[in-house]
């Protein structure tokens, strides 16, 4: 009787020991992983959401295009009936084009900026996201050389454009983008080309950071319009006559 009890005790204690070991390994594994299964789940969830938002994005864009087309038709018919309306409309169109709400075309440059593959694989520290100041410098250089309209990956540079680093990519006008970058710029292509290529200028600096820069002159560069309209909350005109 006593002998059997002893055997049970041994088996029991071994089981308990095993149980402890098992729970320990489970615990350590889950603690080293953090929320181990959560991340992949979360990513999937984000991917689904992203797809949804992208669909919505497409839908909104087409709807906006249609609306703008209709607006144009109405505006044109109204302008045809009334000379004053017509002149106002022309003014509005002019200011819109100055402010960047119209797609423009003309002589200019197309600047391609790419990162070499090997560098991308090395990882952080060398991407354009770490060198957003170079983009600012490029814009400034082009403007100083008389650029009339600039876009980077079809994101129009307006007087409100901000370029920001967000993780491994760049945000321009609040929209994410990354290399390869295509900068389209309208203006005097010779002046702009010289300004970019001046010794120790922006092209040299980009190359110093291992970017490939390729500049081509074109007669018909297309610069897309800005797709966000700006409203003012804080600024008011000083002149009292203007209300």
């Amino acid at each position: 009787m006593i002998k059997i009890n002893k055997g049970y005790i041994v088996v029991g204690s071994v089981t308990v020991l095993l149980g402890i070991i098992l729970s320990l390994t489970f615990k350590t594994v889950s603690s080293t992983l953090g929320d181990s299964t959560m991340p992949s789940q979360r990513v999937q969830q984000i991917a689904v959401e992203l797809k949804k938002e992208k669909d919505l994005n497409q839908q909104l864009k087409t709807s906006n295009d249609e609306l703008e087309k209709k607006i144009r038709e109405y505006e044109e018919s109204a302008a045809n009936n009334d000379a004053y309306v017509n002149s106002l409309r022309n003014d509005a169109l002019l200011y819109r084009s100055y402010a960047g709400y119209t797609a423009l075309t003309g002589e200019g440059l197309i600047i391609d900026i790419t990162e070499p593959k090997a560098i991308i694989e090395i990882g952080e520290g060398l991407g354009i996201a770490n060198n957003t100041d170079l983009l600012l410098k490029m814009i400034s250089t082009l403007n100083a050389a008389g650029a009339e309209a600039i876009s980077i990956n079809d994101k129009r540079i307006t007087s409100f454009t901000e370029i920001e680093r967000a993780g491994g990519h760049v945000m321009i006008n609040g929209q994410p983008t990354n290399t390869p970058l295509t900068v389209r710029v309208i203006g005097n292509s010779d002046y702009m080309n010289s300004a970019l290529n001046i010794k120790n200028g922006i092209v040299d600096e980009l190359r110093h950071y291992n970017f490939y820069v390729n500049i081509t002159k074109e007669n018909e560069v297309v610069v897309q319009k800005a797709d966000k309209q700006r409203t003012f909350k804080h600024s008011k005109p000083v002149d009292e006559k203007k209300e």
Binding site: L18, I21, T25, F26, V29, L33, S36, S40, V43, E49, L50, E53, N57, L60, N64, L67, E68, K70, R72, Y74, S77, A78, N81, D82, V85, L88, D91, A92, Y95, S97, Y98, A99, T102, A103, T105, G106, G108, L136, S140, N143, A144, A145, A149, I157, T158, S159, E162, I163, A166, G167, H169, P176, I186, K228, Q229, F232, H234, S235, V238, D239
Partner: protein, 240 residues
Amino acid sequence: MNKIIKKTTLLLLAGFVSFSTVMQIKSKPEKYTHVTFETIKNAVNELGAIKQENQALLDMENLNKARLEQLIEASKKGSDNLIKNYKAEIEERKIELGYYDVKGPGIIIKMYDNDIIRPDWYDVNFDVVHDGDIQIIINDLRLAGAEAISVNDERLTSKSGIQCGGPTIWVNDVAMATPFYIKAIGDPNKLYASVTAPNTYGDSLKEIVGLEASVVDEITIKAYSGDRNFKYAKPIKEDS
């Protein structure tokens, strides 16, 4: 017989337990974390960005709808409303383009060269305000929602270049030198934070050259006096 069954059960159970223990130990944590934190962060960023863009598009859609409605109404009732709308739009574009002096709450930033006396071998480039510094500060201000910005009373537009040229910096083709006063209208707290908060460029720049920012209840920013005409660019006909 009974004993044999008991023992086999025990053996099987022990085998199962040891098997699962080995599996647990062998399983590599990395196997499940194909997704790094960075990937998630990027995905979240992208999602946030597209949401923002969609919001902007939605605003645009509402704006367009309202405009279309006004146009339809105008086509029925005559063009008075239409004229009013065009005038309002032209005014807004003119404010945006810097045709008028504008006033509002904002900040003034003073940036100046460091006048510490240095030994001969010292590279004085470190003591000087550069065009790049101003470009980045202005980018940060725009990020914080600045509505109008000027550098030494030269209003910045989308076509403003800020470039070093010898001892001076050229803004809008006007030469200026230290000290530089940058004025910006917008939400003053946001603007102030964008150049003084820890880890901002302005904050780190303060260690090298002079930079002082102050919030102002009302500042006036001068109009842009230069030329805006296009010589090269033409609008694309959007008829299709």
